[in-house]
Amino acid sequence: MRHIISILLENEPGALSRVVGLFSQRNFNIETLNVAPTEDPSLSRLTVTTVGDDRVIEQITKHLNKLIDVVKLVDLTEGNHIERELMLVKVKALGAARDEVKRTVDIFRAQIVDVTPSLYTVQITGDAAKLDAFLQAMAPVGILEVARTGVSGIARGDKVLSL
């Protein structure tokens, strides 16, 4: 099963490499990885999506917790949560396809953020499934380039991941 693990990490040199290294060292999967500083400059928030059965996920969280630079973590998929990813896509937009692309962008509530005579650059946010669906819809038109941020997430309700 797919899990979204959010980590508060010491904003120290090398901290990220310890997290990433752990995954390769112990043969765990990383599907997406997203990291940026938080409102507290001493902390980064790192969100990783990974796949594994309960035993593997338990090992992943335990080993992450063992890293000295990991301050706190939560498996967001254990409860209700909000999951978002941002994607920028360059698609071909020529002739009749130009209108078709525009319509599809509207259906997905995406935005065209840059235009040339032959292509659109589309910005879209949502969960990973929505982004996948948009790419599928665009495939016949011609996708030129894709940049995805990887999943970021936060728990619904009163639950807060902080010190």
Partner: protein, 574 residues
Amino acid sequence: MELLSGADMIARFLKDEGVEYIYGYPGGAALHIYDALFRQDSVKHILVRHEQAATHAADGYARASGKPGVVLVTSGPGATNAVTGIATAYMDSIPMVVLCGQVASHLIGEDAFQETDIVGVTRPIVKHSFSIRHPSEIPEVLKKAFYLASTGRPGPVVVDIPKDMTAPTERYEYIYPKKVKLRSYNPVTRGHTGQIKKAVELMLKAKRPVFYTGGGVVTGKASEGLTDLVKRLGFPITTTLMGIGAYPQSDRQSLGWLGMHGSYESNMAMHHADLIIAIGARFDDRVTNNTSKFCPTAKIIHVDVDPSSISKTVRADVPIVGPADSVISEMISLVQGHPIAHPEALAEWWEKIDGWRADRHGKLYEPSKQGEMLKSQEVVEALCRVTRGEAYVTTDVGQHQMFAAQYYKFDKPNRLITSGGLGTMGFGFPAAMGIKQNFPDDDVVCVTGEGSFQMMMQELSTCKQYGVGVKILNLNNASLGMVRQWQDLNYKSRHAHSYMESLPDFHMLIEAYGFTAITVTTQDELEPALERAFADKHELVFLDVKVDPFEHVYPMQVPLGSMRDMLLSKTERT
């Protein structure tokens, strides 16, 4: 206010931290630190002949003394040479602080002379690592390094020190930090009381219980408590290789150690048990054999200070995260006054175990007959007799390591010092060196083989320099015995590169360093040679014992089998 250079801070900190010995080797990036060490006399620096030996010596010192071992090496090759020893300490959870010189900050990343990203290289084999970014942070970082290395589940910590951080011209305020805090590191100090209660209930109700304890009891200094608990309950106990001696092996309740080359009765008892009480052990593959066939009828209680060790390979029914000593003492207080529910079932269980013991009695190996080559097993038994089972025994890796663990009887923890997790050839001799310096009046013997010994034999020179009187028992079968055994069993005796064709004359080699060497080839020579070797505690003596190269280590678990599936000799199996 005291102003010190970074280098002087390091020397001063080591003194304030109570460090007695530091093992190392100088080089460009570490020279400011070496100069600071030269100008003080509290911390004794031992100059090894290879950085790997520095880490193994510090490791041996740490295992025998319970204090963190300290290593100082220079950047680049100095640091990379230390890697094997760091990994060895990591796998066996040994407290160690490794100070590595580094090229000056402004050169980092430029492929400067003797530059290596040692923090990157060692990342998967350290508990944590630090890079010094300003000289003023040296005392606090070093305190954190020692704190991390020696608390919770211990392990090696690397501190990378760019040369400019130790420059003699720049001085900063030095205050010894008595305490440090890390917001993300709070090792557990006691187990969950509810879980411990649950465990004790299972223990009291058990019909076929077995204690299975490991290195965590030894490093956690919980041997006394464990012995008390096991004696109160009257249960059988088996230990891992790393846990040997945590419970006296000469006691009737001890079944010896378990796993791939563990005792027949240990492995049989584990397989048939209805309750496994695992403390400070990690169910590694050399113990469990095939996990899907592991202990099919047993419930499992697992106590470990490291939560990630629990349910890693075998699911625990009652997991308890906590240090061995406090969990054990809580167990003792809960057991007190509560008799076990099924004493008759336990008696029956013991009958069964004694039956297994009797099955193998006198059949473990065939002693050599007059005129035949000596067997390694009987050499270790003779060693045990001559040293009254009281020596510190270090080993290298291979058949001799298994024989030492099988045939020397250990009644105390920290007496068998062996690279159990990583299996590092070359570990034994420098480790013995580190122990002997801490316990100069005890017998310290390195049981080794001619293959392993040659990996670190340059340390004879270090022993000469510091007058280190270790004994070296070289079980010389002129082959890489364990490799050869596997080739016999799995490759139709095609002995690919397991034969040592051009061995040195060890006798002459040892004498070249000015030490005593004794060559032993017959039974009659064996005990007198051992007596002679141990006559003077402060003399290094090397015994080159020619042993039978055809001998195998048994029992040996059958690959992919259960605990009880064992080869018992070249012709018998369970």
